[in-house]
Symmetry: D2
Subunit: 341 residues, 4 copies
């Protein structure tokens, strides 16, 4: 159920509606819009009677939400969500590039890469501190130390930092040191982790699970919003199919569909999807051309010596070329890559 307030409703009207919803035992989610404010209701087990809300002062109408996902839906919030992180704005006509190494390996490594990301025109810095690995015997990340180095790289370059949380303990640390919390594909349906991230004040970048339907994906985002965290970035990173010429099959056509169904920004990760360096730039360009709000790519100055996923990391010069191509494409397709003034 979505309660839409009148344009001329007062803050007190809104408070009264929220209290009325909470008194019924449900949860109220005020959603300010350009034109008017709406209040999403969650927590009800059956359908609600709209007239119950429509008699309250300041209420224009109460609408049932037809999708199983509520708060992530365009029905509930027609305007695209914009997320401000430091000096960077995500969504709303911008194309943002998150770049960095798969894993943070040393202070020197992350500083070097941060500088080259900044210089090439990238907008945010990525770097894994906690790595979910298929094998218990593989390198699992440097943990909090890596997060401190990322923070230092942010101080020097001004790039906001994105890093993955894999459980509640790492979530606390990522929250403390980074700017955006990444939830990886393997944890897309780790609902306890989603709930914890939904209670965080940090924006969350949520990767699509490798066998998640679009509805599964949006429902996982709904977990985040239903806990009160509305700053969610979705990220397509390839699905599992029979097709073995690339590591995963990048399902790029999800981009226009997400944009139709949800107000949340949708990013694309061509590095994990393809798994091979020379396919990253074509798929990054394709993501922009398909209308994505940004990409997340891996860059490493010495990928042969990377502790994880070396073969998919772009070389610094490749990244610079890609950024130039993206700027040229962006100018043609009305996606801004230049910094926020």
């Amino acid at each position: 159920m979505l309660v839409v307030m009148k344009k001329d409703s007062t803050p007190d009207d809104l408070k009264r509606v929220v209290r009325f919803i909470e008194d019924l035992g449900y949860r109220a989610h005020p959603i300010p819009g350009a034109e008017r404010t709406a209040v999403g209701i969650t927590g009800n087990s059956g359908s609600l009677d709209p007239t119950m809300f429509e008699v309250l002062p300041g209420v224009a109408q109460a609408l049932p939400v037809t999708q199983p996902y509520k708060l992530v839906s365009r029905e509930v919030k027609p305007e695209p969500t914009r997320i401000r992180v430091g000096s960077v704005e995500i969504g709303g006509g911008r194309f943002s590039v998150i770049a960095g190494p798969c894993a943070v390996e040393s202070e020197a490594q992350i500083l070097t890469i941060a500088r080259l990301v900044k210089q090439a025109g990238g907008h945010l810095l990525r770097g894994g501190a906690f790595k979910p690995r298929t094998s218990p015997y593989s390198f699992q990340g440097l943990g909090e130390q890596a997060l401190r180095w990322l923070a230092r790289a942010r101080e020097e370059t001004g790039l906001p930092v994105v890093s993955e949380a894999v459980d509640e303990a790492s979530l606390r640390l990522v929250e403390e040191h980074a700017d955006i919390i990444q939830i990886g594909a393997r944890n897309m349906q780790n609902f306890s982790l989603l709930r914890a991230a939904g209670r965080s004040g940090r924006p969350v970048l949520l990767k699509r699970g490798m066998s998640a339907s679009l509805e599964d994906f949006l429902m996982s985002a709904e977990y985040l919003l239903s806990e009160g965290n509305y700053n969610v970035i979705l990220c397509e990173r390839g699905i599992r199919t029979f097709s073995q010429h690339s590591r995963f099959t990048l399902d790029l056509s999800v981009v226009p569909v997400v944009q139709k169904k949800s107000h949340l920004p949708i990013f694309v990760d061509p590095s994990h999807a393809t798994g091979v360096r020379d396919r990253v730039a074509p798929m990054a360009r394709a993501a922009l051309a398909a209308g994505a709000d940004g990409i997340m790519v891996e860059v490493h100055p010495a990928p042969d010596r990377a502790l994880s996923d070396g073969p998919q990391a772009l070389l610094p010069t490749q990244f610079e070329q890609l950024m130039a191509q993206l700027r040229a494409l962006g100018s043609v397709l009305e996606r801004r890559l230049e910094p926020v003034s």
Copy 2:
């Protein structure tokens, strides 16, 4: 690396080998076998020199393990693993039936179902206390209260209890009240949860993720064994494919392949795979015929009123008929369903 002890080696020889491995900074996993004991080594980043171990007293030989999974591999332990839970034995020529409701809904419900499972010849009782649900607005289980009711059902019927843990908090509770900890498909690569379950004294039933390759599946089991929990039951529950006539595609041919590659018992869950009641019995029979070590099925006396997954639950009479068919098939295929004497 696998260090195989001589038949006539002494306990002191074994201790010395373990200490030697630990002094190198690795982890030693003694694996007693019918013929002789072996010691798996994990934690080494590169390959080790076998001669280093072969010179120690009591050592027959040191063998490299060719698979990425080590402790779950048949190379390391040729005999099939048998797991004893209460009076029930799993693996080793037995066919075990875990049955019960998707979710525990009330004390009366779980007691009624436990009695009928027992009476029909089922071996273990399942019942969800913590339910991972696609939607944040769906019923999420009754938590610890449900676990207490399950324990009471065990007291009355003698059936050991299987229940799912979804995070570390619920793992502690399941560990306390239930006999086997289930890790669900959506958490198959929740590596923090796997590690925690690997440190538990309870056997773990690990479900295959819906897009997990066989290697992914065995590597997740390896997380459990590498932490010291060798009592792991694998469970196929259907994979995501284009085929939409059933909820998931039951990948039954994984059964003989798992049995070739691993010593761990492999179960099949035909309820979640098909999602429709009248397909459960055919697939349960097929699981036995394919050589599985057991099945996990849902039973509910009033599935129309079930709080989750009603359409896939067998009716009590259907379950009784299925048990009779399984006993008949078992007698033909040398799989014992009768209780341990």
Copy 3:
């Protein structure tokens, strides 16, 4: 639309109904049943008015068919289809085993295998004369010569012969020499070939395409029936999925679903699905346990020297053991494998 005749309707009533349908420009398919005859109507582009038919003498009622497939549907023909080929009956409670080499390689080879199939209790002989191969440079079959050798093997053993047609020219030859025409997975949507096979007097064994949905599969069968060939055997042979531990993923749960939706017999081919010898017997047993009407398996006395698909062929002793297991299972599950008396 399905026109159901009254129990006491006369042959003249039926003729009149057929003529009436044809005069409307549609096609009439009389379907005799145990209780009463029905007449399927195809060729209409929109929906028809039932009363138009219900006023005709001898007509009990006219029913719309709700599925996109008509003649293959259980709605149109509730009794399972039984197909008689020589002394063999397929469907209707029997479990039939089609066995033989992937490809006919020589007269001696096919005679040897036919004898062992016969002796072990198999019911029909398979052997490829025309092989659809992924590579233009692979062995493509011995053509008409192979068909002559198959016919000779039938003369000696009495086993009816199944062989694949890949185009209209080979269809003519298979029709002439063999008893059942196989249409392979790669030609499941070769609609010209389906139409030609639909006009043949020989039964057709139609394999499911490797990415065919159940509806696609039944619609391809509908092509055969709509041309007048009602003797169609469906055959599941594995689908393409991400799962790489077997060549294809055998989608065994399609068996009970086909049996619910269609009256046509459904077979399973575990050889092509798994691609590996030691998984064929488990999946063959599972097929019987799941309720399939038969299997198609490959047998070769010297698979190492086979010209195609050697690794998946059972050895003669393995085939004998499998037949013994299937007979034991059949006796438990009321599927008859003994010859028609």
Copy 4:
């Protein structure tokens, strides 16, 4: 095996090499290149001894081809293939747009659409005369009459015509009336049809099967080249996956991989892949950005009344906008869309 001629070898040297290969019972495929001529050998069952060829006059070296596909491989022909059809050139830095209705419905319809395709800057005209349809009761195309109308549209607009052949009879007709023969996804492994098309003088546009691996796809193209038809255009049109938000999953990352492995041009069909009009333009732009050599899209002035696949056809104004966007993107990414001068 690939026999590479010396730069200064004579035509007589080449003839002698070809004759030598043919005398061995194999097939020789001379492949002229910018630098030098090579001769592909097919038809050998085992590997050949290079020295046998290297002693012949004019031969630089003889190289084994490591891929299962030979003639389609970049190893055999490093330069990208360019195909000239009328005044249109495909491949070699151009981006070509094939547009038109799913099916030709009337002379007026195809003339209207041909004019608008021409006017908007499209390069070739598509239109189905023979439609492979899942249901035997669906509209199957207007056959030869449709081909005549297509030919008339070509006369008026100068646009070369692409139309699908579904069997040998329709192939003869398409060959006679159209400029490029399309082989559809469902016939990608109809090897008899591929062989027949391989003997045609017309270029072939080969669509990827919906469950074809990249190797399957290239092997099907190899059937065409091995019969002597080197003018082959590959076309990605979406694969079958679990993901149901679009009709098929467009596997766009196949584009850079095909370009690495093969010299053949690779097109993308976003209409059949997505099945929904408003996702066609994003995926068409993404195809260009990913480096494809062209696209094939459906356009219809009144898609609601189209006899097949209406929902995926672009409206005329949408097509014009798309062409403008593609020209802008092409100018940035060095893909020429302007007509050949």
